[in-house]
């Protein structure tokens, strides 16, 4: 929730926050926990690019991206994106753009652990 404080200020009228949590099932199969691996230096650069693109496209005041790594249990917060703007449309659009682009470009890998094995998400067609 520190992410929310970091984007709020007297000139902001709307803050949109996306919180991605660890779901207990994927395609109907029970997930025990997740593991996130990252190429940290490159991930930060890619996140920086997303933020720069968001600031260029929308009148955004502040944008925070926070992503956990390592082992996460069901229900834990994996990612938080908080965007503040004077008006809510910019906050909504920039927040959604940020999570969508993060999922496409930022080098972070999620492994789902099941009772009978594990799968790197999206690895295979």
């Amino acid at each position: 929730m520190a992410c929310i404080h970091r984007v709020s200020g007297p000139a902001s009228g709307g803050i949109d926050v996306f919180i991605g949590t660890v779901r207990d099932a994927t395609k109907g199969k029970e997930v025990l926990r997740l593991e996130f691996e990252t190429y940290e230096k490159m991930a930060l650069r890619e996140m920086q690019k997303i933020a720069a693109a968001a600031f260029e496209r929308w009148p955004v005041q502040a944008l925070v991206i926070h992503h956990r790594t390592g082992v996460l249990q069901i229900g834990e917060v994996a990612v938080v994106i908080a965007v503040s703007a004077a008006h809510r449309d910019a906050a909504f659009d920039a927040c959604r753009f940020t999570i969508n682009t993060l999922k496409q470009t930022v080098p972070i890998w999620k492994k789902e652990l099941f009772a009978d094995g594990e799968v790197w998400v999206a690895a295979h067609p």
Binding site: G20, R45, V79, P107, W109, A123
Partner: protein
């Protein structure tokens, strides 16, 4: 004159690529002036399971690399299998 000029490059691997390559960092001897596209081909020949992935990209110095980019011996090179953050 015939000259053979190879270079040793280090390649970081992540996620399923790390499991396929068997190590978080592998070394390869490649001709100088090898491009990112050529390295991708060499990697797929040496580790055929990389070719079975939905896709994989190379990063050079922490940026996604276009296939025509020429590699240098001290470049920071990484295999980027399909990302799945968020």
């Amino acid at each position: 004159m015939i000259e053979l000029s190879n270079m040793q490059i280090k390649i970081q691997t992540f996620g399923i690529a790390r499991e396929i390559c068997g190590d978080a960092q592998i070394s390869m001897l490649v001709p100088e002036s090898t491009t990112a596209g050529q390295l991708k081909q060499l990697l797929t020949e040496q580790y055929p399971r990389l070719g079975a992935l939905a896709s994989f990209l190379l990063a050079v110095n922490e940026e996604y690399a276009e296939p025509h980019i020429q590699l240098q011996a001290n470049d920071e090179i990484a295999v980027i299998p399909p990302v799945s953050g968020g």
